[in-house]
Each structure stands twice: as structure tokens, then as C-alpha cells.
């Protein structure tokens, strides 16, 4: 039986500088996951997040844990990222304005009410880009 083994790499740089030019903090984290022999899906794409939340994760993604990167690539209103059909509630994982991104190893069914990742905007449709990859269960 064939298996699809995947691995995931993430690196970033985050810094905060005060009004006097003093660097308050700077972090440059990175990791590469172990190979995940139980992985079923690695998916990426561009998606129009409508005024009603819509799903970006395929049903085959691992409900227990998925590496999730979402970037707002439109120019108007913020987009909410949620682990299920919860747009507009306190359960969102991110609230992104144009140009901003979010990254997390997510549990898709953390609210107990669904097993997907949704994106939505209450005002007008906005474009996002995403990369999702099954992670090893916690």
C-alpha cells in the first residue's frame, strides 16, 4: 500500500521597535517537522473568502493537526480564519487585514462542531492564499 509521507518547514522573523529606535525584541524561529507517514493531503491555493464563511480544508485533512498558513492578498476588509463554521464568533484563530498572515499547527475540530478551516468576511468577499499540510497527531 502506498503512503504519502510529507514534511513541513517554517521559518520567520518578528521584531518590535519603539519610537526611539530601540529594538524591544527580535525572534527568528524555525523548525522542520518529522516525516509524517500518515499524511493524506498537502494542499495550497487561492480562495475568495465570502460574506458567508467557506471551507478551505479538504475533508481528508487530519482533524487532529494540520499545519496552516493563510495570507490575506486582497485590499479591503479583514478576513477571519476559524477551525470550523464559526465566522463572526469568538472562536476565530486569526483576524487578518490586507497583507497580513497567520501560521499555526491547528486542531480542526477544536470547537467540537466541525472538522475544517473556514475563512470569511462580513462585509465583502476577499482573496486569501493558503498552504495546508497534515501534521503528526499530538
Amino acid at each position: 500500500m502506498a503512503v504519502q509521507s510529507t514534511s513541513f518547514t517554517a521559518s520567520g522573523t518578528f521584531s518590535l521597535t519603539d519610537a526611539n529606535g530601540v529594538v524591544v525584541f527580535s525572534y527568528s524561529p524555525a523548525f522542520t517537522s518529522q516525516a509524517n507517514a500518515a499524511s493524506l493531503v498537502l494542499s495550497t491555493g487561492e480562495h475568495l473568502a465570502g460574506t458567508t464563511a467557506s471551507e478551505i480544508a479538504l475533508p481528508e485533512h487530519n482533524d487532529d493537526r494540520v499545519y496552516c498558513f493563510v495570507k490575506h492578498v486582497d485590499s479591503d476588509h479583514s478576513v477571519e480564519v476559524s477551525p470550523a463554521l464559526q465566522e463572526g464568533t469568538s472562536k476565530e484563530c486569526a483576524d487578518l487585514k490586507p497583507g497580513e498572515f497567520f501560521f499555526a499547527p491547528m486542531e480542526l475540530n477544536s470547537d467540537g462542531g466541525g472538522a475544517s478551516i473556514t475563512v470569511g468576511n462580513g462585509t465583502s468577499a476577499q482573496k486569501i492564499q493558503y498552504l495546508l499540510c497534515d501534521a503528526i497527531d499530538n
Binding site: S7, D18, E92, F103, P105, L131, I136
Partner: protein, 131 residues
């Protein structure tokens, strides 16, 4: 203490299968923060019950940027909004993994370790309505 800041963020990520198929994404942005009151940064211990990482933003605060990296070599932890264990989970971090998010709400952010106390590296910075 200064209350105006510039926050810079950039990251890249890629996923690869054993066939060599690879997909990658990246991003970068800056936020100008004005009259904010909470800047938390450093390392802390996360217990098995809820540990508040950032209290609910007040005054001009309307949200926060949050980063956390699991420094433990063995165990995982959960990060959650509303500071309630097993509720509104934002991220589940295995050893060495990290997450970054922006939340535009007035909820606290908390974390809880699954098995034993875990050390994490983190920052949590309040953002204002214009950011």
C-alpha cells in the same frame, strides 16, 4: 515607557512529499502601533492548568499579535483564546514548533501544557484600532 511601536513580521513555509512535490508560501508586513499598553516578551513556564499569556486588552487595545514556541523536548501544549483550557484552541505545538497570529478582539490568550510544565518562548503585543 514609549507607547508607539513598529512591529515587523515575515515568514516562509513549505510542505514537501516523499515524491519531491513541494509547495511554498511566504509573507511580510508591518504594523504601526499607537498608544498601546501591553508588550509581553520572553520565556515563561506553562503549567497543565491555564496560564494567561496576555490579559484581555483594555483602553485603546483592540487586539494582539501573538507568537509562541514550544521549548520542551518531549511534550506538547495548547494555546487558546479566552484563556480556557481545551476551548477555542488556536494552536497545538509539538516540541520545537511555533505559531503566529493576529486577533482583533478583547479576549485574553492562554496556554496549557498536556503532561508537565513546559517552557516557551513568546511575545504578545497589544494592537490598537488603526493597526
Amino acid at each position: 515607557m514609549p507607547s508607539n511601536y513598529t512591529f515587523n513580521a515575515s515568514m516562509s513555509c513549505s510542505a514537501t512529499s516523499s515524491t519531491g512535490y513541494t509547495q511554498a508560501q511566504s509573507g511580510a508586513f508591518s504594523l504601526n502601533l499607537t498608544q498601546i499598553n501591553q508588550v509581553e516578551s520572553g520565556r515563561m513556564e506553562i503549567g497543565t492548568s491555564n496560564t494567561v499569556v496576555l490579559a484581555a486588552p483594555a483602553d485603546t487595545g483592540i487586539g494582539k499579535v501573538v507568537y509562541m514556541r514550544n521549548l520542551d523536548p518531549v511534550n506538547f501544549l495548547e494555546v487558546h483564546s479566552v484563556a480556557t483550557v481545551d476551548t477555542d484552541v488556536i494552536a497545538i505545538l509539538e516540541p520545537g514548533e511555533w505559531f503566529f497570529t493576529i486577533l482583533r478582539d478583547t479576549q485574553a490568550v492562554g496556554a496549557s501544557a498536556d503532561t508537565a510544565v513546559i517552557d516557551v518562548e513568546y511575545f504578545a503585543v497589544e494592537i490598537d484600532t488603526n493597526a
